[in-house]
Symmetry: C2
Subunit: 468 residues, 2 copies
């Protein structure tokens, strides 16, 4: 049982920092580190004792669980978040318009396997951008592949008119689930397009998850601009295993896929923006945020209501502690990360010509789990400055700082020379929930969420005070 | 999206390690680090791909959810774990006897607050070692205190014949929930005894948790050897808040406490022991384990079925990889950690005279959550050796090595000069489950559990290879 109290980190940090200073500078370094550490303690105290992010996430998920771009839920969430920030008496709150795609899941998602007299239901969901099946469904033979090489090996002759089934599992032995996702997700994002080129009638993809359960995980798939969209769906891992087993016994079994999703015209939507203006350098901006749109099977709690409400919490904590930042601290709740990045691109286009300097951007889009650190994509100087803060953040359990990191929504700011930083929570449970009906508020833990917000606020405070 | 593959940690580790070697030694250091890192990769691969700990924990929790010392469930769990290890074809499996206390919760746990015409139920559970209430229940006034100082201030006059209510919440701003527990739990462990000395008729304690819900958290309380036991119970945090609010309006309200728990004669029980004998130094022992007994409200999943099954998994992985250890690797599933430590003391007493040297002991008893590192309590040399392995463990997310740590069951081995090491998972969710009906198998994540087992196995392998 450890009984360390909060004061101890301050002392440790001062000790560690001081090693890097000559004896004259030592006192300055110590005092600065003391002051920094005390401020970080105050930030954590405020967030953990009085944090609102958890309750606000609960409200967002309860009122607007379905927030896919273009939907009524997304529009409602925009209003909700604007009102939330307006009530905080920030220096300004505004909506930044962007046109977003509007794909609708529809009401029918059904898979049925028929092998001789055996008829089995296979749990699935449509992938974003999928076409609907013809009236009465698409019934065809299934050809299973694990890789694109296997698909190429089959050629048009082996694929034409059939349903291609990408059964590529997560590599369990990778320590980072994001690595496993990165390795497997190409079969969801590009699998349907590649299969269509060979004449496939439809595509099934094994869900992108470590979990063995009956929850299909949706997500976007991309076709080339003039390519015909075909029906494509994700099977739950249990359904994928069932289909694979049945195919071993009967390679000629028939799969019936029924989807009535549809692509509608683009819709006007918005990024929601709120800020505290800098008192010394208002044209230097630290932007932070998450994305407000979410896949529509769950409630978009971890992906990415969590990141949105953590970002709003950063501003709340600053106001509560009467921190008047030197630079402008701006929260952006981006629209359309999941299937288009239109909001991110609109913001970056605006940032390019608004006459401000974006010195750093921080995104939280890896779930509201217990935070472990931050990853940075920046130049050598930005990276070196960032790494210096490790001893300040370690006592708060968020000191795992490393290169590589950022977020999809802040990615387009790369061309501005902005330091791009991602909050990195523990990842191990993330893909149990990601894009599935299990991404619900009840899977979020209050302390974990608030610890992430406090870590983000601490980093914002350091960047604001010291530059990067 | 990071796409690092598993090979990269090996290279990084080799690089980091090599910094500490002169140019001649550099190649040796590099090769050794390469070999170590490759072995750790193999351990993780085996655990993550073929791990059995999760399924075995599921069986333990389903068959023997109630495993408080002396119970039929505890006896069944002993048989279950012995059979489990026997089936693994270890070098030996045996039961080590110890007499354990036998306290039974009974069937009645009820709290009722009456204030004028208002009658409300207050959710509670008996604390281990509590006496039963008299027939018809104990009805009395309630006196609320936050600290022992406040209790002392009231004196016998203010306490006699009343129910003392310790309403001491967790300090939310402490980053480590174990620190918050350490600070608050004394009111559960010693509160009833202190109140009884002043003539209290009964005691209520606010549950030891950050959570705001209606689940009471049980746990042990200790009376002095000749002291009369009084009825004492833990209120859910919601019930504690309700009672506290009602007391502000009506300091004379009456609380009726009904418990029919009882203390029965001590029972013969067992530690369950299994080992792989060392091929070079069989008399040098690395012991690892968790405790098999558990509080009886939930299933003892995180506390501590997880630690037990992780420890068994370590032996399974070693057998699967055909690792023939130099030293004896022994798993001990201790009995009676929760309310007596009789198993731990029996093992330590035996260890003192068995003619073996216990070089290290590793306990997993902080939940089956995503592992972050290990804490050590050892001498300077043991600590230095342990710290050297940080770069080897960091690529696997378990590199947070620090001093301070161990576990209740390995504590008594301290007198033997054994290095005492505790697995340290992420703690943030632990006290949502600890000693409550929410400590169930469904709250355990397969990957998180297996990552902890793989980390323990890696550390065992390093200690076995290199000594400590």
């Amino acid at each position: 049982m450890k009984k360390t109290l909060l004061l101890i980190p301050v002392i440790i940090v001062a000790g560690v920092i001081s090693l890097n200073f000559s004896s004259d500078k030592l006192q300055v370094g110590e005092k600065e580190a003391d002051a920094d550490s005390l401020m970080i303690s105050r930030i954590y105290k405020e967030a953990l004792n009085n944090g609102k992010a958890y309750d606000q996430l609960g409200m967002l998920c309860a009122r607007y669980p379905k927030r896919l771009s273009g939907s009524a839920g997304a529009a409602g969430a925009v209003e909700f978040c604007r009102d939330l920030m307006k009530d905080m008496k920030l220096d300004s709150v505004w909506l930044q318009p962007c046109m977003v795609p509007h794909w609708e899941r529809g009401t029918v998602e059904r898979g049925t396997v028929t092998s001789g007299k055996v008829v089995k239901a296979a749990k699935l969901c449509a992938l974003g951008n999928s076409a609907a099946t013809p009236a009465g469904g698409l019934q065809a033979e299934v050809v299973q592949v694990s890789t694109f090489d296997e698909l190429a090996g089959l050629g048009e002759k082996g694929v034409k008119g059939k349903i291609v089934f990408y059964n590529h599992p997560f590599i369990d032995e990778l320590i980072s689930p994001f690595d496993a996702y990165g390795e497997a997700a190409r079969y969801r994002t590009r699998g349907p397009a590649e299969a269509q080129k060979l004449g496939a009638a439809g595509v099934l993809v094994r869900s992108m998850t470590h979990a063995h359960d009956n929850n299909p995980h949706t997500g976007n798939t991309r076709f080339d601009s003039l390519q015909v969209h075909i029906p494509c769906a994700a099977l739950s891992t249990e359904a994928a295993d069932m289909l694979s087993t049945m195919l071993k016994k009967d390679a000629k079994l028939r799969f019936k896929l029924e989807l009535n999703c549809r692509q509608l015209p683009d819709v006007l939507s918005y990024n929601v923006v709120g800020e505290i203006r800098g008192r010394e350098l208002p044209k230097e901006v630290i932007v932070l945020g998450g994305h407000l749109d979410a896949w529509d099977l769950g409630e978009g709690a971890h992906d990415d209501g969590a990141g949105c409400m953590q970002s709003v919490e950063v501003l709340r904590v600053m106001k509560a502690l009467d921190i008047k930042p030197r630079r402008t601290i701006r929260v952006v709740l981006w629209m359309n990360e999941e299937n288009g990045l239109r909001g991110a691109n609109a913001y970056a286009a605006w940032a390019m010509k608004c006459g401000e300097t974006h010195i750093a951007a921080i995104e939280s889009d890896a779930g509201g789990f217990s935070p472990r650190g931050f990853g940075i994509s920046g130049n050598a100087s930005q990276t070196a400055n960032f790494m210096r803060w490790k001893p300040l953040l370690e006592p708060f359990g968020i000191g795992d700082l490393h290169t590589g990191g950022g977020g999809a929504d802040i990615g387009p700011l790369d061309t501005l020379g902005t330091a791009l930083i991602g909050l990195e929570p523990d990842q191990q449970r993330y893909f149990d929930h990601h894009h599935a009906q299990t991404d619900v508020f009840s899977a979020v833990n209050r302390r974990e969420l608030l610890l992430g917000a406090a870590g983000m606020c601490s980093l914002v405070w350091l960047i604001d005070r010291k530059g990067i």
